[in-house]
């Protein structure tokens, strides 16, 4: 079991101690139905310092960071922020199940894409994501998933092979540098 001090520093600013388990976060969560542990249960585990169990849950990877829980919390607990920290810890310590680590791969591919282009290039994103994910676990079905949709998407003008880029990419780089600087939060 982690010490409380350790919990405090990682979750500073989330007011995790203020949670009184009303469950409003769970009530409003659009993906709670998919979660193995409810948002309020995750917050409780953090309060108790039982991070191992929280980090190993699939729930933290189902969270879509819509911030509804944080917005409506009567105690102003940053529930979405807590799940963010849990995801980060889980990723750093390699606690998540392999199929869930794919979420992380997707997020990395997404951010790299934005860093490069300043805007999302969907074809590039799909390409990078599938390649990276395939290199991790050599999962053929994933590689082929949704490929049959491509012609249809192309036909309707939803898929642009050459994506747009912003003109001043130096600005984007500076934003990324500032956000990823250690100590300033991700």
């Amino acid at each position: 079991m982690e010490t409380l001090e350790k919990v405090d520093s990682a979750f500073a600013g989330t007011s995790v101690e203020a949670c009184y388990q009303c469950g409003k976060c769970t009530g409003g969560c659009p993906v709670a139905g998919l979660m193995d542990l409810m948002p309020n249960q995750l917050v409780r585990l953090v309060q108790l310092g039982r991070l191992e169990k929280a980090m190993a849950s699939t729930a933290i990877w189902h969270c879509v960071s819509c911030q509804t829980c944080t917005t409506r919390c009567p105690q102003s607990v940053d529930c979405a922020g807590i799940l963010d920290v849990l995801r980060q810890m889980s990723a750093e310590q390699g606690k998540a199940a392999p199929e869930l680590r794919r979420v992380l791969v997707f997020q990395k591919a997404f951010l790299d894409n934005i860093r490069r282009n300043g805007r999302l290039n969907e074809v590039e994103l799909i390409g990078f994501f599938k390649t990276l994910a395939f290199l991790k676990d050599f999962n053929i079905p994933l590689l082929m998933k949704d490929t049959l949709l491509a012609p249809q998407l192309m036909q309707r003008g939803k898929l642009h092979v050459i994506g747009e880029k912003v003109r001043d990419r130096a600005v984007v780089r500076r934003i990324f540098d500032r956000c990823t600087k250690p100590g300033k939060g991700a």
Partner: protein, 572 residues
């Protein structure tokens, strides 16, 4: 050489924890004029007071310093002790080494030093004190009661029955307050009207009670025993002495579209109206803003109809002065505004619950009117939007209460009980209906309270979900209530026909202005402050002014009823 005794109290651990008592005692004993300095664990207790008395007599003390809590708390206690020992009580002073020292410091050495300093100053004060004799001033043996709800009515009757005159001021056209609108009351389910209306009649007819309805306090001058109160009697446009309350006027009034205050907007009333049939005084009032005569000058139907000639469109506000000796404030409460409009920036409403947007999302007080025999549906549970009987009703607790983000951190105390009552009233009338409750904790402390809640669950079949509701939306004529049941660890979605929100209790509108007129303290939420929560729970810090009812803190009906005894004893 003066002979002063210093008595240092440990206050259990409250002072001894932070102040080195032995050191302070030794230091204080060296102050010139101090004859003796002793300490004891509880100076206010019987052995402690005995020490004070004994020392006064044996050492022939000419002055006493008690170093303990605030004089507000125990100066009277020690002055009384000194008096029995033959010392003039005004030669006793207190050095506050608890609130002003031990409670606010951590460093024992510095706190001890400060305590010694405080005692030294108080010794200096006593050295200059003179023996005083109390004087007697005439006092007016009349009381003013502000607010004619259940608390005010009971206070007025108690004082009046004790033989004193009472001036009762109520700002609404009738006394009765919120309770007059309730259906049945917990934990006995007896009818609110059967308890309250006889008392209202008694109040209206009591020879010792002078009732000013539709009136407000304009200003208050004077001091305990001799207050001069100016009362604004608002223009009613009816001479209540001439009026017989026959009803000719309001049955004929053509302006019928004003939402009724008494029914919380669930029904409409006319421009000339009686708030409710059991009103005291049973006299109507004209709402100037709704009256066609005032708006266009072209109606006056009521004037023509009135056989008694009681209607007077020329009526104006009148200022009346009354002299009283004591004031009881029973200003009451209001419900927290659930919608977006809020009285101050600290509060924010619940946009996510759709109150004000969906007609079938109502407050608990509106539900009281729906289930009351005197209500707009004569007690039948019909939802406001289409008059259908709701087959599934969701009751939501803690709407506003215990919600720091919306600005009210306290528990409103009564909602758990009345929500359980609401489920019962509903199930007794709609047998095949489902009553769902979303709650965080069930707080049912009180005689027969817990049993009452269990009855709602076990016998009447109310379904309790432990969790807060996150959002209410409307789809295909149903209210979709999204909440959680944390005991199962699942989100819960209920398709309801009606939703009842148990809104928090807040101090009534205008309590702050009243507090300023009366020079009373209030807390961050606007509830009036008592002098001491345990020792002086009905007194305020202004001598001669007392508080009772929900203007002090959220309270249920039995509570002011119990406290009245104490209040009556205190007034005289």
């Amino acid at each position: 050489m003066a002979r002063i005794g210093v008595f240092i109290c440990w206050c259990g651990e409250n002072i001894a924890r932070t102040v080195d008592i032995e050191k302070a005692t030794a230091e204080v004993a060296k102050i010139p004029g101090v004859r003796c300095a002793i300490n004891y664990k509880y100076m206010c207790s019987d052995p402690g007071q005995a020490m004070v008395r004994e020392k006064i007599q044996r050492e022939k003390l000419q002055g006493v310093v008690v170093a303990s809590c605030s004089p507000h708390m125990h100066l009277k206690t020690f002055r009384a002790a000194a008096k029995t020992a033959g010392l003039n009580p005004y030669l006793v002073e207190m050095a506050n080494v608890r609130e002003h020292c031990s409670w606010v410091h951590h460093d024992k050495e510095k706190a001890t030093e400060k305590a010694i300093g405080l005692i030294r100053m108080t010794v200096g004060k006593v050295l200059r004190n003179r023996a005083l004799d109390p004087i007697k001033v005439p006092l007016t043996k009349r009381a003013l009661v502000i607010g004619g709800g259940v608390a005010g009515i009971q206070a007025a009757l108690d004082i009046a029955d004790a033989g004193c005159e009472v001036v009762l001021v109520e700002r609404e056209p009738s006394i009765g307050g919120k309770m007059a609108g309730l259906s049945e009351t917990f934990p006995t389910l007896d009818c609110s009207q059967c308890i309250l209306t006889p008392r209202m009649v008694e109040t209206g007819q009591h020879p010792n009670i002078k009732l000013y309805s539709y009136s407000e306090i304009e200003s208050v001058e004077g001091f305990v025993g001799n207050f001069k109160v100016t009362i604004r009697k608002k223009a009613r446009y009816i001479d209540i002495d001439k009026c017989t309350g026959c009803g000719e006027c309001w049955t004929k009034c053509p302006s019928k579209k004003t939402p009724s205050e008494f029914d919380y907007g669930l029904a409409n009333r006319t421009a000339i109206y009686m708030p409710f049939p059991q009103a005291v005084p049973a006299r109507p009032v004209i709402d100037k803003d709704a009256c066609i005569k005032f708006k266009t000058g072209k109606c006056g139907l009521c004037l023509k109809r009135c056989q008694a000639g009681a209607i007077n469109f020329e009526d104006e506000d009148k200022l009346i002065t009354e002299e009283v000796g004591a004031i009881v404030t029973a200003a009451g409460y209001q419900l927290y505004d659930i919608g977006k409009d809020q009285p101050n920036a600290k509060l924010s409403g619940y946009g996510e619950y759709g109150y004000g947007e969906y007609a079938d999302v109502i407050t608990s007080l509106q539900f009281e009117r729906l289930s009351s025999a005197s209500g707009p549906t004569s007690g039948e549970i019909k939802r406001p939007s289409d008059g259908e009987t709701p087959k599934k009703v969701v009751f939501v607790s803690c709407v506003g209460s215990r919600d720091n983000a919306k600005g009210i951190s306290y528990c409103s105390k009564i909602c758990c009980m009345y929500t359980a009552k609401h489920t019962m009233l509903y199930k007794h009338k709609v047998h095949d209906g489902e009553a769902h409750v979303f709650y965080m904790d069930i707080r049912a402390g009180g005689k027969n309270y817990e049993e009452f809640v269990r009855r709602a669950i076990e016998q009447d079949g109310a379904i309790y979900h432990r969790g807060r509701v996150s959002k209410i939306t409307r789809e295909n004529g149903k209210l979709i209530v999204r909440g959680a049941d944390t005991l199962v660890g699942e989100p819960v979605t209920i398709e309801a026909d009606m939703v009842v929100l148990a809104a928090a209790m807040r101090p009534a509108v205008g309590v702050l202005e009243l507090a300023q007129k009366l020079k009373l303290g209030y807390d961050e939420f606007g509830f009036l402050s008592e002098s001491h929560p345990k020792l002086r729970p009905v007194e305020t810090n202004t001598a001669g002014i007392y508080i009772c009812g929900a203007c002090q803190a959220p309270k249920d009906i039995p509570r002011p009823w119990r406290r009245r005894r104490r209040r009556r004893a205190k007034c005289w």
